[in-house]
Amino acid sequence: MDPERTNMDEDELMASVRLEPDKISFPGKDKLRKSAADLTDTQIEYLSIACLEKDISPDQLQELEINLKENSESRAIFDTFQKTKLVPPAVVFKNKNSLKKLSAGQKVFRMATAGLSAAAAIVILILSYIFVPDLINGRNNQTASGIIQDTTPATIIIAGSNPIIARTKTIIPEKENSLTATEGAIILAVVPDTLPVSIIIEYQSITSVFIPVVSGVSFQIPDLSLIASNNSYIPKEIDEDRSRLRKFIASTFREKILGEKFYTDEAIRPIEVAIAGVNGMNKLFDWNMELRETVDEAGEVKSVYFSSALLTFNSPVRKTSE
């Protein structure tokens, strides 16, 4: 038998038994079709996360946007997921310096720098004591007679048993060599003069007082400022009395040694000197000691905190009534 003939017969035979698909279609096909609005909550959740993670295709994103426009519940789900993005807190690792490794040269340089800083601090302190004698003596023990030589315009407090801070706007020249304080107050600016003059100050129970002044001088007297009394009243030291040099030293100390970004020129406090010392030793020996003040809600110093490898304490500050 011819094999080729046999194959042809088989093909014809198979063709005759081949099934042809019916020309029918599924009647519910349209119902099966979905739009973006039909996305389920689970799919919205998945797409919302993908969107948050920027792991979404443009087509998926478009469909999600369509759904969100039409479906408020989907929008709520999407919005909630957007809230789950964490924001890192602004914390820093404080002991970074202790992690660093120094070369021999850097160590020598650091020690030299710390030594120079300490020396500079000592020099500043010495200079401040030399040039600012008020630091040592102050004016606390000055009496009226002493302060009267001061050329600073001043208010004088005159009191019987209790010191009185009085205020007056005007001092009227009455006679050639005298002034009278009016408005029931006892205030006087004092300037030494070769020609002694006097004023009479009267105030209810207060005894009259005679104080040498310069006649015909116009005074600008700050309210409630005080320099003297006719008794042993001790006036408080006020900031205006501090010299420019002291202010300069204080501000330089805070800026250069304490490294404060926002510093004042108020008088240097012992705790600040101590903090500078601790910082200097940390630099010098690569230690991690910490000395700082803790303040309460009102901004007043509550305690002093010290921490080192050997010792840690938090000492409350004793408040004295003024």
């Binding site: 948050l52 964490l86 807190p89 820093v92 690792f93 660093k100």
Partner: protein, 161 residues
């Protein structure tokens, strides 16, 4: 890596590693210890490690140290165990970020870490996988589950408030 590069790595990455571990552990002191420990390990291998991979190396080392600690303490708590009374206590939070971080504490450790690495550091799935020793697919699933849990937690809080 040179000493200079090592010190540069301290300046550049110590804060980020500390933030990550601190947020994960919720313990400042131990986070500090882990950061220091990680840098000590880095210093021991300073000559072998290339600067280009030092960030992921540090995160990976810190992460695995933290995992060891957590496993020892068995402190993992499931979010599903969260009681409504807990939620009431936490309704005092006014800041959403605080609420999220409280929720984060309740996530399984692996979910928490991948979400933190993703949100804090912006790492890719691949980078997170390298740090945490997971495949990209696992990272993706963990992030998905973590986000779901956070979203559910926020939903519960809003319901309680």
């Amino acid at each position: 890596m040179t000493v200079k590069e090592y010190n540069g790595a301290v300046d550049e990455y110590a804060d980020a590693v500390y933030r990550f571990i601190r947020a994960d552990l919720r313990d400042d002191d131990r986070a500090k210890d882990i950061v220091q420990d990680s840098y000590e390990k880095l210093w021991k291998h300073v000559a072998e490690i290339d600067y280009s991979v030092v960030k992921s190396w540090l995160f990976s080392t810190a992460y695995h140290t933290m995992i060891d600690i957590i496993r020892k303490e068995k402190r993992m708590t499931g979010l599903e165990e969260c009681e409504e009374s807990d939620l009431l206590n936490e309704s005092q939070y006014t800041d959403l970020n605080e609420i999220l971080h409280a929720a984060l504490e309740r996530l399984p450790e692996q979910h928490r870490s991948v979400v933190l690495l993703r949100d804090y550091e912006g790492y890719s799935y691949k980078e997170i996988g390298e740090i945490a020793g997971l495949s990209e697919a696992q990272v993706k699933i963990n992030i998905y589950r973590g986000r779901m849990a956070l979203k559910n937690y926020i939903g519960k809080i809003e319901t309680v408030i």
